[in-house]
Amino acid sequence: MTTTTDLVSYEDALASYDPVMGLEVHVELGTKTKMFCGCSTELGADANSQTCPVCLGLPGALPVVNATGVESAVKIGLALNCEIAEWCRFARKNYFYPDMPKNFQTSQYDEPIAFNGYLDVQLEDGEVFRVEIERAHMEEDTGKSTHVGGATGRIHGASHSLLDYNRAGIPLIEIVTKPIVGAGERAPEVARAYVRELRELIRALGVSEARMEMGQMRCDVNLSLMPKGADKFGTRSETKNVNSLRSVERAARFEIQRHAAVLGAGGTIVQETRHFHEDTGSTTSGRVKEEAEDYRYFPEPDLVPVAPSRAWVEELRAGLPELPLVRRNRLREEWGISGTDMQAILNAGALDPIVATIDAGADAASARKWWMGELARSANESGNALDELAITPAQVARVTELVANGDLNDKLARQVIEGVLAGEGTPDEVVDKRGLKVVSDEGALTAAVEEAIAGNPAIADKIRGGKVAAAGALVGAVMKATRGQADAARVKELILQKLGAAEG
Protein backbone atom coordinates (compact mmCIF):
# COMPACT_ATOMS: atom_id res chain seq x y z
CA MET A 1 0.00 0.00 0.00
CA THR A 2 2.91 2.31 0.46
CA THR A 3 4.50 1.87 -2.95
CA THR A 4 5.05 5.29 -4.43
CA THR A 5 2.93 6.33 -7.35
CA ASP A 6 4.55 7.58 -10.53
CA LEU A 7 3.48 11.09 -11.38
CA VAL A 8 4.31 13.48 -14.16
CA SER A 9 4.35 17.20 -13.56
CA TYR A 10 1.01 18.92 -13.79
CA GLU A 11 2.19 21.09 -16.68
CA ASP A 12 3.42 18.11 -18.69
CA ALA A 13 0.18 16.22 -18.06
CA LEU A 14 -1.86 19.14 -19.35
CA ALA A 15 0.39 19.57 -22.36
CA SER A 16 -0.58 16.11 -23.60
CA TYR A 17 -4.04 15.45 -22.20
CA ASP A 18 -7.45 17.00 -21.60
CA PRO A 19 -9.03 16.08 -18.28
CA VAL A 20 -12.68 15.03 -18.08
CA MET A 21 -14.34 15.09 -14.68
CA GLY A 22 -17.57 13.87 -13.21
CA LEU A 23 -18.45 14.95 -9.71
CA GLU A 24 -20.86 13.11 -7.46
CA VAL A 25 -21.83 14.96 -4.33
CA HIS A 26 -23.83 13.44 -1.50
CA VAL A 27 -25.69 15.87 0.72
CA GLU A 28 -27.15 14.73 4.01
CA LEU A 29 -30.44 16.56 4.45
CA GLY A 30 -31.13 18.37 7.69
CA THR A 31 -34.52 16.73 8.24
CA LYS A 32 -35.52 15.83 11.79
CA THR A 33 -36.15 12.22 10.83
CA LYS A 34 -34.76 9.59 8.49
CA MET A 35 -35.89 9.19 4.88
CA PHE A 36 -38.12 6.18 5.36
CA CYS A 37 -38.85 6.02 9.10
CA GLY A 38 -39.44 8.34 12.04
CA CYS A 39 -36.10 7.78 13.78
CA SER A 40 -34.34 10.95 14.84
CA THR A 41 -31.32 12.16 12.88
CA GLU A 42 -29.85 14.10 15.82
CA LEU A 43 -26.06 13.91 15.85
CA GLY A 44 -24.09 12.64 18.79
CA ALA A 45 -26.64 10.17 20.11
CA ASP A 46 -25.64 6.90 21.78
CA ALA A 47 -24.73 4.14 19.34
CA ASN A 48 -27.77 2.33 17.94
CA SER A 49 -30.22 4.43 19.93
CA GLN A 50 -31.86 5.84 16.78
CA THR A 51 -32.92 2.74 14.91
CA CYS A 52 -36.17 0.91 14.32
CA PRO A 53 -37.39 -2.13 12.40
CA VAL A 54 -37.47 -0.12 9.15
CA CYS A 55 -33.89 1.15 9.15
CA LEU A 56 -32.60 -2.11 10.61
CA GLY A 57 -34.27 -3.97 7.77
CA LEU A 58 -36.20 -6.30 10.07
CA PRO A 59 -38.71 -8.60 8.35
CA GLY A 60 -42.13 -7.12 7.73
CA ALA A 61 -41.17 -3.51 8.36
CA LEU A 62 -42.54 -1.06 5.81
CA PRO A 63 -40.87 2.24 4.87
CA VAL A 64 -42.82 5.48 4.35
CA VAL A 65 -41.24 8.45 2.58
CA ASN A 66 -40.39 11.61 4.52
CA ALA A 67 -42.38 14.45 2.90
CA THR A 68 -39.75 17.05 3.85
CA GLY A 69 -37.08 14.87 2.24
CA VAL A 70 -38.96 14.96 -1.06
CA GLU A 71 -39.59 18.68 -0.74
CA SER A 72 -35.87 19.31 -0.15
CA ALA A 73 -34.98 17.19 -3.16
CA VAL A 74 -37.33 19.18 -5.38
CA LYS A 75 -35.94 22.48 -4.06
CA ILE A 76 -32.38 21.34 -4.79
CA GLY A 77 -33.45 20.22 -8.25
CA LEU A 78 -35.11 23.54 -8.99
CA ALA A 79 -32.17 25.56 -7.69
CA LEU A 80 -29.94 23.53 -10.03
CA ASN A 81 -32.18 24.48 -12.97
CA CYS A 82 -33.30 20.87 -13.34
CA GLU A 83 -36.49 19.43 -14.71
CA ILE A 84 -38.56 17.78 -11.99
CA ALA A 85 -39.91 14.33 -12.75
CA GLU A 86 -43.70 14.14 -12.97
CA TRP A 87 -43.53 10.60 -11.71
CA CYS A 88 -40.61 8.63 -10.32
CA ARG A 89 -39.87 5.59 -8.23
CA PHE A 90 -37.36 4.43 -5.70
CA ALA A 91 -35.16 1.48 -6.52
CA ARG A 92 -33.24 -1.08 -4.55
CA LYS A 93 -29.50 -1.07 -5.04
CA ASN A 94 -28.46 -4.52 -3.91
CA TYR A 95 -25.10 -5.17 -2.34
CA PHE A 96 -23.73 -7.04 0.62
CA TYR A 97 -21.86 -4.87 3.01
CA PRO A 98 -22.50 -4.56 6.71
CA ASP A 99 -23.03 -0.78 6.56
CA MET A 100 -26.58 -1.48 5.30
CA PRO A 101 -28.44 -4.02 7.39
CA LYS A 102 -31.08 -4.45 4.66
CA ASN A 103 -28.47 -5.66 2.16
CA PHE A 104 -29.69 -2.98 -0.20
CA GLN A 105 -29.77 0.77 -0.25
CA THR A 106 -33.03 2.44 -1.14
CA SER A 107 -32.10 4.83 -3.92
CA GLN A 108 -33.34 5.94 -7.31
CA TYR A 109 -32.04 4.47 -10.52
CA ASP A 110 -33.42 5.33 -13.93
CA GLU A 111 -36.07 7.73 -12.64
CA PRO A 112 -34.34 10.45 -10.59
CA ILE A 113 -36.57 13.13 -9.13
CA ALA A 114 -34.55 15.89 -10.84
CA PHE A 115 -32.49 15.85 -14.03
CA ASN A 116 -30.90 17.97 -16.76
CA GLY A 117 -29.82 21.11 -15.02
CA TYR A 118 -26.77 23.29 -14.54
CA LEU A 119 -24.93 25.30 -11.95
CA ASP A 120 -22.87 28.36 -12.79
CA VAL A 121 -19.73 28.52 -10.70
CA GLN A 122 -17.34 31.39 -10.31
CA LEU A 123 -13.60 30.82 -10.25
CA GLU A 124 -11.18 32.89 -8.15
CA ASP A 125 -10.56 35.36 -10.96
CA GLY A 126 -14.26 35.89 -11.53
CA GLU A 127 -14.60 33.72 -14.62
CA VAL A 128 -17.91 31.87 -14.67
CA PHE A 129 -17.93 28.22 -15.68
CA ARG A 130 -21.18 26.36 -16.31
CA VAL A 131 -21.30 22.84 -14.88
CA GLU A 132 -24.07 20.72 -16.39
CA ILE A 133 -26.07 18.59 -13.98
CA GLU A 134 -27.07 15.08 -15.01
CA ARG A 135 -29.37 14.31 -12.12
CA ALA A 136 -30.20 14.69 -8.46
CA HIS A 137 -31.79 11.74 -6.76
CA MET A 138 -33.01 10.67 -3.34
CA GLU A 139 -31.42 7.92 -1.33
CA GLU A 140 -30.35 7.07 2.20
CA ASP A 141 -27.12 7.11 4.14
CA THR A 142 -25.40 4.01 5.48
CA GLY A 143 -24.39 3.03 9.00
CA LYS A 144 -21.04 3.86 10.50
CA SER A 145 -18.36 1.19 10.80
CA THR A 146 -15.52 1.12 13.28
CA HIS A 147 -12.76 -1.29 12.37
CA VAL A 148 -11.16 -2.96 15.35
CA GLY A 149 -7.80 -4.67 15.69
CA GLY A 150 -6.02 -3.00 12.79
CA ALA A 151 -3.20 -0.52 13.05
CA THR A 152 -5.02 2.78 12.70
CA GLY A 153 -8.71 1.99 12.62
CA ARG A 154 -8.53 1.03 8.97
CA ILE A 155 -10.13 -2.01 7.42
CA HIS A 156 -6.75 -3.35 6.45
CA GLY A 157 -5.59 -5.74 9.16
CA ALA A 158 -8.73 -5.35 11.26
CA SER A 159 -9.98 -8.43 13.09
CA HIS A 160 -13.62 -7.36 13.08
CA SER A 161 -15.86 -4.33 12.67
CA LEU A 162 -18.52 -2.67 14.80
CA LEU A 163 -21.64 -1.11 13.33
CA ASP A 164 -23.70 1.79 14.55
CA TYR A 165 -26.86 2.20 12.47
CA ASN A 166 -27.93 5.62 13.75
CA ARG A 167 -26.89 7.12 10.42
CA ALA A 168 -28.44 4.34 8.31
CA GLY A 169 -31.47 5.81 6.61
CA ILE A 170 -30.67 9.52 6.97
CA PRO A 171 -31.85 11.21 3.76
CA LEU A 172 -29.20 11.84 1.14
CA ILE A 173 -29.46 13.68 -2.11
CA GLU A 174 -26.89 12.58 -4.64
CA ILE A 175 -26.09 15.22 -7.24
CA VAL A 176 -24.27 14.02 -10.33
CA THR A 177 -22.72 16.27 -12.96
CA LYS A 178 -22.49 15.51 -16.63
CA PRO A 179 -18.92 15.04 -17.81
CA ILE A 180 -17.09 18.31 -17.26
CA VAL A 181 -15.10 18.83 -20.43
CA GLY A 182 -13.06 21.78 -21.58
CA ALA A 183 -11.87 23.07 -18.22
CA GLY A 184 -8.29 22.12 -19.16
CA GLU A 185 -5.71 23.15 -16.61
CA ARG A 186 -8.42 24.75 -14.52
CA ALA A 187 -10.25 21.45 -13.99
CA PRO A 188 -9.19 21.01 -10.34
CA GLU A 189 -10.15 24.62 -9.66
CA VAL A 190 -13.53 24.11 -11.34
CA ALA A 191 -14.10 21.03 -9.18
CA ARG A 192 -13.43 23.01 -6.04
CA ALA A 193 -15.52 25.98 -7.13
CA TYR A 194 -18.40 23.68 -8.06
CA VAL A 195 -18.45 21.96 -4.69
CA ARG A 196 -18.24 25.30 -2.93
CA GLU A 197 -21.04 26.80 -4.99
CA LEU A 198 -23.16 23.73 -4.37
CA ARG A 199 -22.50 24.01 -0.64
CA GLU A 200 -23.55 27.67 -0.64
CA LEU A 201 -26.66 26.76 -2.61
CA ILE A 202 -27.64 23.95 -0.24
CA ARG A 203 -27.19 26.28 2.73
CA ALA A 204 -29.15 29.08 1.09
CA LEU A 205 -32.01 26.64 0.50
CA GLY A 206 -31.91 25.75 4.19
CA VAL A 207 -32.08 22.03 3.45
CA SER A 208 -28.77 21.13 5.10
CA GLU A 209 -25.88 22.82 6.85
CA ALA A 210 -23.66 20.98 4.37
CA ARG A 211 -20.66 20.93 6.69
CA MET A 212 -18.08 18.88 4.86
CA GLU A 213 -15.95 18.36 7.96
CA MET A 214 -18.92 16.66 9.58
CA GLY A 215 -19.62 14.44 6.59
CA GLN A 216 -22.85 16.26 5.76
CA MET A 217 -21.53 16.79 2.27
CA ARG A 218 -19.12 14.41 0.56
CA CYS A 219 -17.68 14.41 -2.92
CA ASP A 220 -16.57 11.62 -5.22
CA VAL A 221 -14.24 12.78 -7.98
CA ASN A 222 -14.37 10.83 -11.24
CA LEU A 223 -11.53 11.68 -13.50
CA SER A 224 -10.15 10.53 -16.83
CA LEU A 225 -7.78 11.89 -19.42
CA MET A 226 -8.00 11.88 -23.16
CA PRO A 227 -5.20 12.83 -25.54
CA LYS A 228 -5.43 16.47 -26.57
CA GLY A 229 -7.78 16.85 -29.49
CA ALA A 230 -9.47 13.49 -28.92
CA ASP A 231 -13.17 13.30 -28.19
CA LYS A 232 -13.40 9.78 -26.81
CA PHE A 233 -13.22 9.70 -23.02
CA GLY A 234 -10.53 7.63 -21.35
CA THR A 235 -11.05 5.15 -18.52
CA ARG A 236 -11.89 6.88 -15.28
CA SER A 237 -10.96 6.43 -11.67
CA GLU A 238 -13.32 7.37 -8.88
CA THR A 239 -11.80 8.95 -5.79
CA LYS A 240 -14.31 8.46 -2.99
CA ASN A 241 -15.33 10.63 -0.06
CA VAL A 242 -13.15 13.65 -0.58
CA ASN A 243 -14.24 15.75 2.33
CA SER A 244 -12.96 19.28 2.02
CA LEU A 245 -12.87 21.86 -0.74
CA ARG A 246 -9.10 21.87 -0.76
CA SER A 247 -9.02 18.08 -1.00
CA VAL A 248 -11.37 18.09 -3.98
CA GLU A 249 -8.91 20.29 -5.84
CA ARG A 250 -5.88 18.29 -4.72
CA ALA A 251 -7.47 14.92 -5.54
CA ALA A 252 -8.32 16.05 -9.07
CA ARG A 253 -4.83 17.41 -9.56
CA PHE A 254 -3.17 14.26 -8.24
CA GLU A 255 -5.26 12.01 -10.45
CA ILE A 256 -4.42 14.08 -13.53
CA GLN A 257 -0.72 13.64 -12.77
CA ARG A 258 -1.12 9.92 -12.00
CA HIS A 259 -3.22 9.12 -15.07
CA ALA A 260 -0.79 10.99 -17.30
CA ALA A 261 2.11 8.95 -15.91
CA VAL A 262 0.31 5.64 -16.47
CA LEU A 263 -0.86 6.57 -19.97
CA GLY A 264 2.45 8.15 -20.91
CA ALA A 265 4.26 4.92 -20.04
CA GLY A 266 1.94 3.00 -22.35
CA GLY A 267 -0.14 1.58 -19.51
CA THR A 268 -3.91 1.46 -19.04
CA ILE A 269 -6.00 2.98 -16.28
CA VAL A 270 -7.91 0.48 -14.18
CA GLN A 271 -11.50 1.47 -13.55
CA GLU A 272 -11.52 1.43 -9.78
CA THR A 273 -12.37 3.41 -6.70
CA ARG A 274 -9.54 5.18 -4.95
CA HIS A 275 -9.05 6.63 -1.51
CA PHE A 276 -7.76 10.14 -0.95
CA HIS A 277 -5.23 10.71 1.81
CA GLU A 278 -5.42 14.12 3.39
CA ASP A 279 -1.87 13.99 4.82
CA THR A 280 -0.04 13.30 1.56
CA GLY A 281 -2.57 14.65 -0.94
CA SER A 282 -2.33 11.35 -2.79
CA THR A 283 -4.78 8.59 -3.70
CA THR A 284 -4.42 4.83 -3.38
CA SER A 285 -6.26 1.98 -5.00
CA GLY A 286 -9.54 0.87 -3.40
CA ARG A 287 -11.64 -1.78 -5.06
CA VAL A 288 -12.33 -2.58 -8.67
CA LYS A 289 -15.63 -0.91 -9.45
CA GLU A 290 -18.60 -3.22 -9.76
CA GLU A 291 -20.53 -2.67 -12.94
CA ALA A 292 -23.86 -0.91 -12.43
CA GLU A 293 -25.79 -4.02 -13.40
CA ASP A 294 -24.13 -5.91 -10.60
CA TYR A 295 -26.25 -3.94 -8.17
CA ARG A 296 -29.33 -5.57 -9.72
CA TYR A 297 -31.44 -2.44 -9.33
CA PHE A 298 -35.16 -2.99 -9.38
CA PRO A 299 -38.14 -0.78 -8.49
CA GLU A 300 -38.70 -0.67 -4.73
CA PRO A 301 -41.92 -2.62 -4.18
CA ASP A 302 -42.52 -1.24 -0.67
CA LEU A 303 -42.71 2.42 -1.71
CA VAL A 304 -45.27 3.82 -4.10
CA PRO A 305 -44.14 6.28 -6.79
CA VAL A 306 -43.55 9.94 -6.05
CA ALA A 307 -45.46 12.23 -8.40
CA PRO A 308 -44.82 15.89 -7.52
CA SER A 309 -47.78 17.89 -8.81
CA ARG A 310 -46.90 20.75 -11.15
CA ALA A 311 -48.72 23.18 -8.88
CA TRP A 312 -46.60 22.14 -5.91
CA VAL A 313 -43.38 22.33 -7.94
CA GLU A 314 -44.28 25.86 -9.07
CA GLU A 315 -45.09 26.84 -5.50
CA LEU A 316 -41.66 25.62 -4.41
CA ARG A 317 -40.02 27.40 -7.33
CA ALA A 318 -41.68 30.66 -6.37
CA GLY A 319 -40.45 30.24 -2.81
CA LEU A 320 -36.78 29.71 -3.69
CA PRO A 321 -34.45 32.17 -1.99
CA GLU A 322 -32.11 34.40 -3.92
CA LEU A 323 -29.38 32.06 -5.14
CA PRO A 324 -25.84 32.54 -3.84
CA LEU A 325 -24.14 33.69 -7.04
CA VAL A 326 -26.88 36.26 -7.69
CA ARG A 327 -26.77 37.39 -4.08
CA ARG A 328 -22.99 37.76 -4.10
CA ASN A 329 -23.07 39.83 -7.25
CA ARG A 330 -25.80 42.03 -5.79
CA LEU A 331 -23.94 42.57 -2.51
CA ARG A 332 -20.69 43.23 -4.33
CA GLU A 333 -22.37 46.03 -6.24
CA GLU A 334 -24.18 47.40 -3.20
CA TRP A 335 -21.00 47.50 -1.20
CA GLY A 336 -18.95 48.78 -4.11
CA ILE A 337 -16.15 46.26 -3.65
CA SER A 338 -14.06 44.37 -6.18
CA GLY A 339 -14.48 40.74 -7.18
CA THR A 340 -11.20 39.97 -5.44
CA ASP A 341 -12.45 41.52 -2.20
CA MET A 342 -15.63 39.49 -2.44
CA GLN A 343 -13.61 36.36 -3.10
CA ALA A 344 -11.55 37.05 0.02
CA ILE A 345 -14.75 37.44 2.04
CA LEU A 346 -16.02 34.12 0.70
CA ASN A 347 -12.77 32.32 1.35
CA ALA A 348 -12.84 33.58 4.91
CA GLY A 349 -16.42 32.36 5.35
CA ALA A 350 -17.31 35.92 6.31
CA LEU A 351 -20.22 36.66 3.98
CA ASP A 352 -23.04 35.46 6.21
CA PRO A 353 -21.61 37.00 9.40
CA ILE A 354 -21.13 40.32 7.59
CA VAL A 355 -24.67 40.32 6.20
CA ALA A 356 -26.06 39.38 9.62
CA THR A 357 -24.07 42.22 11.20
CA ILE A 358 -25.46 44.69 8.68
CA ASP A 359 -28.95 43.33 9.32
CA ALA A 360 -28.32 44.01 13.01
CA GLY A 361 -27.75 47.68 12.25
CA ALA A 362 -24.08 48.09 11.32
CA ASP A 363 -22.98 49.91 8.20
CA ALA A 364 -21.51 47.67 5.50
CA ALA A 365 -17.99 49.05 5.59
CA SER A 366 -17.63 48.65 9.37
CA ALA A 367 -19.12 45.16 9.32
CA ARG A 368 -16.63 44.13 6.64
CA LYS A 369 -13.75 45.79 8.44
CA TRP A 370 -14.27 43.93 11.72
CA TRP A 371 -15.05 40.50 10.26
CA MET A 372 -12.21 40.60 7.75
CA GLY A 373 -9.75 42.22 10.19
CA GLU A 374 -9.79 41.66 13.92
CA LEU A 375 -12.22 38.73 13.88
CA ALA A 376 -10.62 36.89 10.96
CA ARG A 377 -7.28 37.19 12.74
CA SER A 378 -8.72 35.86 15.95
CA ALA A 379 -10.43 32.97 14.16
CA ASN A 380 -7.22 32.17 12.39
CA GLU A 381 -5.24 32.12 15.62
CA SER A 382 -7.72 29.89 17.42
CA GLY A 383 -8.29 27.66 14.40
CA ASN A 384 -12.03 28.33 14.41
CA ALA A 385 -14.42 29.18 11.63
CA LEU A 386 -15.75 32.73 11.86
CA ASP A 387 -19.23 31.55 12.76
CA GLU A 388 -17.76 29.54 15.62
CA LEU A 389 -16.31 32.58 17.34
CA ALA A 390 -17.83 33.51 20.68
CA ILE A 391 -19.28 36.73 19.34
CA THR A 392 -22.57 37.22 17.53
CA PRO A 393 -23.18 39.47 14.54
CA ALA A 394 -25.51 41.53 16.78
CA GLN A 395 -22.63 42.09 19.23
CA VAL A 396 -20.32 43.15 16.43
CA ALA A 397 -23.05 45.53 15.27
CA ARG A 398 -23.25 46.95 18.81
CA VAL A 399 -19.49 47.57 18.80
CA THR A 400 -19.75 49.44 15.49
CA GLU A 401 -22.61 51.47 16.98
CA LEU A 402 -20.47 52.42 19.99
CA VAL A 403 -17.73 53.54 17.60
CA ALA A 404 -20.17 55.50 15.45
CA ASN A 405 -21.55 57.24 18.55
CA GLY A 406 -18.04 58.25 19.56
CA ASP A 407 -18.18 56.14 22.75
CA LEU A 408 -15.29 54.02 21.51
CA ASN A 409 -12.45 54.55 19.13
CA ASP A 410 -11.04 51.73 17.03
CA LYS A 411 -8.38 50.87 19.52
CA LEU A 412 -10.87 50.56 22.37
CA ALA A 413 -13.30 48.71 20.13
CA ARG A 414 -10.63 46.09 19.51
CA GLN A 415 -10.30 45.63 23.25
CA VAL A 416 -14.06 45.27 23.59
CA ILE A 417 -14.10 42.57 20.91
CA GLU A 418 -11.20 40.86 22.59
CA GLY A 419 -13.18 40.89 25.85
CA VAL A 420 -16.33 39.48 24.25
CA LEU A 421 -14.30 36.72 22.59
CA ALA A 422 -12.72 35.93 25.95
CA GLY A 423 -16.16 35.41 27.44
CA GLU A 424 -16.29 38.58 29.52
CA GLY A 425 -19.86 39.33 28.45
CA THR A 426 -21.67 41.55 25.98
CA PRO A 427 -19.90 44.58 24.46
CA ASP A 428 -21.58 46.88 26.97
CA GLU A 429 -20.56 44.66 29.87
CA VAL A 430 -16.96 44.58 28.65
CA VAL A 431 -16.99 48.37 28.31
CA ASP A 432 -18.16 48.68 31.91
CA LYS A 433 -15.91 46.03 33.40
CA ARG A 434 -12.77 47.19 31.66
CA GLY A 435 -13.67 50.86 31.97
CA LEU A 436 -13.25 51.40 28.26
CA LYS A 437 -14.77 54.72 27.35
CA VAL A 438 -13.47 57.43 25.13
CA VAL A 439 -12.55 60.43 27.29
CA SER A 440 -15.25 62.79 26.18
CA ASP A 441 -14.92 65.06 29.18
CA GLU A 442 -13.95 68.25 27.32
CA GLY A 443 -12.24 69.69 30.39
CA ALA A 444 -9.92 66.71 30.76
CA LEU A 445 -9.29 66.60 27.02
CA THR A 446 -8.52 70.32 26.84
CA ALA A 447 -6.08 69.96 29.71
CA ALA A 448 -4.32 67.08 27.96
CA VAL A 449 -4.17 69.05 24.72
CA GLU A 450 -2.71 72.10 26.43
CA GLU A 451 -0.15 69.93 28.14
CA ALA A 452 0.87 68.36 24.82
CA ILE A 453 1.24 71.81 23.20
CA ALA A 454 3.29 73.09 26.11
CA GLY A 455 5.53 70.01 25.98
CA ASN A 456 6.17 70.27 22.22
CA PRO A 457 6.65 73.97 21.41
CA ALA A 458 8.51 73.34 18.13
CA ILE A 459 5.72 71.22 16.72
CA ALA A 460 3.12 73.69 17.95
CA ASP A 461 4.93 76.46 16.06
CA LYS A 462 4.88 74.46 12.85
CA ILE A 463 1.15 73.98 13.17
CA ARG A 464 0.66 77.70 13.88
CA GLY A 465 2.65 78.27 10.71
CA GLY A 466 0.11 76.25 8.73
CA LYS A 467 1.67 72.76 8.77
CA VAL A 468 -1.53 71.04 9.78
CA ALA A 469 -0.05 67.60 9.09
CA ALA A 470 2.28 68.03 12.05
CA ALA A 471 -0.75 67.79 14.35
CA GLY A 472 -0.42 63.99 14.21
CA ALA A 473 2.48 64.06 16.63
CA LEU A 474 0.48 66.07 19.17
CA VAL A 475 -2.56 63.81 18.75
CA GLY A 476 -0.24 60.89 19.50
CA ALA A 477 0.98 62.57 22.65
CA VAL A 478 -2.58 63.20 23.85
CA MET A 479 -3.62 59.63 23.07
CA LYS A 480 -0.65 58.40 25.05
CA ALA A 481 -1.52 60.61 27.98
CA THR A 482 -5.13 59.35 27.98
CA ARG A 483 -4.02 55.72 27.54
CA GLY A 484 -5.75 55.55 24.18
CA GLN A 485 -9.15 56.44 25.57
CA ALA A 486 -9.62 59.67 23.68
CA ASP A 487 -11.48 60.30 20.46
CA ALA A 488 -8.59 61.03 18.12
CA ALA A 489 -10.68 63.11 15.74
CA ARG A 490 -11.89 65.36 18.55
CA VAL A 491 -8.34 65.69 19.89
CA LYS A 492 -7.15 66.88 16.51
CA GLU A 493 -9.98 69.38 16.32
CA LEU A 494 -9.06 70.79 19.71
CA ILE A 495 -5.37 71.06 18.83
CA LEU A 496 -6.06 72.93 15.60
CA GLN A 497 -8.54 75.15 17.37
CA LYS A 498 -6.05 76.03 20.14
CA LEU A 499 -3.32 76.81 17.65
CA GLY A 500 -5.57 78.78 15.37
CA ALA A 501 -5.02 76.51 12.38
CA ALA A 502 -7.85 75.33 10.18
CA GLU A 503 -8.10 71.86 8.77
CA GLY A 504 -7.45 71.16 5.11
Partner: protein, 98 residues
Protein backbone atom coordinates in the same frame (compact mmCIF):
# COMPACT_ATOMS: atom_id res chain seq x y z
CA UNK B 1 -34.83 -15.11 -23.98
CA UNK B 2 -33.01 -18.43 -23.99
CA UNK B 3 -29.45 -19.13 -23.12
CA UNK B 4 -28.65 -18.39 -19.48
CA UNK B 5 -25.16 -19.77 -19.15
CA UNK B 6 -23.61 -21.40 -16.14
CA UNK B 7 -21.15 -18.51 -16.01
CA UNK B 8 -24.05 -16.12 -15.58
CA UNK B 9 -25.50 -18.26 -12.82
CA UNK B 10 -22.11 -18.37 -11.12
CA UNK B 11 -21.90 -14.57 -11.37
CA UNK B 12 -25.36 -14.10 -9.87
CA UNK B 13 -24.55 -16.59 -7.15
CA UNK B 14 -21.44 -14.65 -6.27
CA UNK B 15 -23.38 -11.37 -6.11
CA UNK B 16 -25.99 -13.03 -3.90
CA UNK B 17 -23.26 -14.65 -1.79
CA UNK B 18 -24.64 -18.13 -2.53
CA UNK B 19 -22.32 -21.08 -2.72
CA UNK B 20 -23.42 -23.37 -5.55
CA UNK B 21 -22.02 -26.76 -6.50
CA UNK B 22 -21.01 -27.27 -10.16
CA UNK B 23 -24.03 -29.50 -10.84
CA UNK B 24 -26.31 -26.86 -9.32
CA UNK B 25 -25.03 -24.29 -11.80
CA UNK B 26 -26.38 -26.36 -14.68
CA UNK B 27 -29.57 -27.11 -12.81
CA UNK B 28 -30.30 -23.44 -12.05
CA UNK B 29 -29.25 -22.29 -15.50
CA UNK B 30 -32.03 -24.44 -16.92
CA UNK B 31 -34.54 -23.27 -14.35
CA UNK B 32 -33.70 -19.59 -14.77
CA UNK B 33 -33.99 -20.02 -18.49
CA UNK B 34 -37.51 -21.41 -18.08
CA UNK B 35 -38.53 -18.60 -15.73
CA UNK B 36 -37.19 -15.86 -17.96
CA UNK B 37 -38.78 -17.51 -20.96
CA UNK B 38 -42.16 -17.53 -19.22
CA UNK B 39 -41.88 -13.90 -18.15
CA UNK B 40 -40.73 -12.89 -21.63
CA UNK B 41 -44.08 -14.01 -23.01
CA UNK B 42 -45.63 -11.02 -21.27
CA UNK B 43 -43.80 -8.69 -23.62
CA UNK B 44 -45.42 -10.48 -26.55
CA UNK B 45 -48.84 -9.20 -25.49
CA UNK B 46 -47.81 -5.92 -23.83
CA UNK B 47 -47.46 -3.22 -26.43
CA UNK B 48 -45.79 0.19 -26.13
CA UNK B 49 -48.98 1.68 -24.71
CA UNK B 50 -48.97 -0.65 -21.70
CA UNK B 51 -46.56 0.77 -19.15
CA UNK B 52 -44.67 -1.74 -16.99
CA UNK B 53 -46.28 -2.23 -13.60
CA UNK B 54 -44.17 -2.11 -10.49
CA UNK B 55 -46.99 -1.55 -8.04
CA UNK B 56 -50.43 -3.11 -8.22
CA UNK B 57 -52.03 -0.23 -6.33
CA UNK B 58 -52.93 3.03 -8.10
CA UNK B 59 -51.31 5.10 -5.34
CA UNK B 60 -48.70 7.84 -5.45
CA UNK B 61 -47.24 10.28 -2.93
CA UNK B 62 -47.76 8.27 0.22
CA UNK B 63 -45.69 10.31 2.63
CA UNK B 64 -45.38 11.04 6.32
CA UNK B 65 -44.63 14.36 8.02
CA UNK B 66 -41.07 14.88 9.23
CA UNK B 67 -41.88 14.13 12.87
CA UNK B 68 -39.75 12.07 15.19
CA UNK B 69 -41.23 8.83 16.44
CA UNK B 70 -39.79 6.67 19.19
CA UNK B 71 -36.93 4.41 18.18
CA UNK B 72 -36.03 1.05 19.64
CA UNK B 73 -33.72 1.11 22.63
CA UNK B 74 -30.17 0.01 21.83
CA UNK B 75 -30.86 -3.16 23.84
CA UNK B 76 -33.90 -3.93 21.69
CA UNK B 77 -32.05 -3.10 18.49
CA UNK B 78 -29.19 -5.41 19.41
CA UNK B 79 -31.33 -8.16 20.91
CA UNK B 80 -31.13 -10.46 17.93
CA UNK B 81 -27.60 -9.59 16.88
CA UNK B 82 -25.39 -12.71 16.79
CA UNK B 83 -22.58 -10.70 18.36
CA UNK B 84 -22.19 -7.25 19.83
CA UNK B 85 -19.52 -5.07 21.38
CA UNK B 86 -19.60 -1.50 22.69
CA UNK B 87 -23.34 -1.30 22.00
CA UNK B 88 -22.64 -1.97 18.35
CA UNK B 89 -23.29 -4.83 15.98
CA UNK B 90 -20.15 -6.90 15.72
CA UNK B 91 -19.44 -8.32 12.29
CA UNK B 92 -16.57 -10.48 11.02
CA UNK B 93 -13.60 -9.00 9.23
CA UNK B 94 -14.69 -7.21 6.07
CA UNK B 95 -12.75 -8.53 3.11
CA UNK B 96 -12.26 -7.33 -0.39
CA UNK B 97 -11.47 -3.71 0.28
CA UNK B 98 -8.19 -1.96 0.78
Amino acid sequence: MPGITREEVAHLARLARLELKPEELDHFAGQLDDIIGAVARVSEVADQDVPPTSHPLPLTNVMRPDEVRPSLTPEQALSSAPAQEQQRFKVPQILGEE
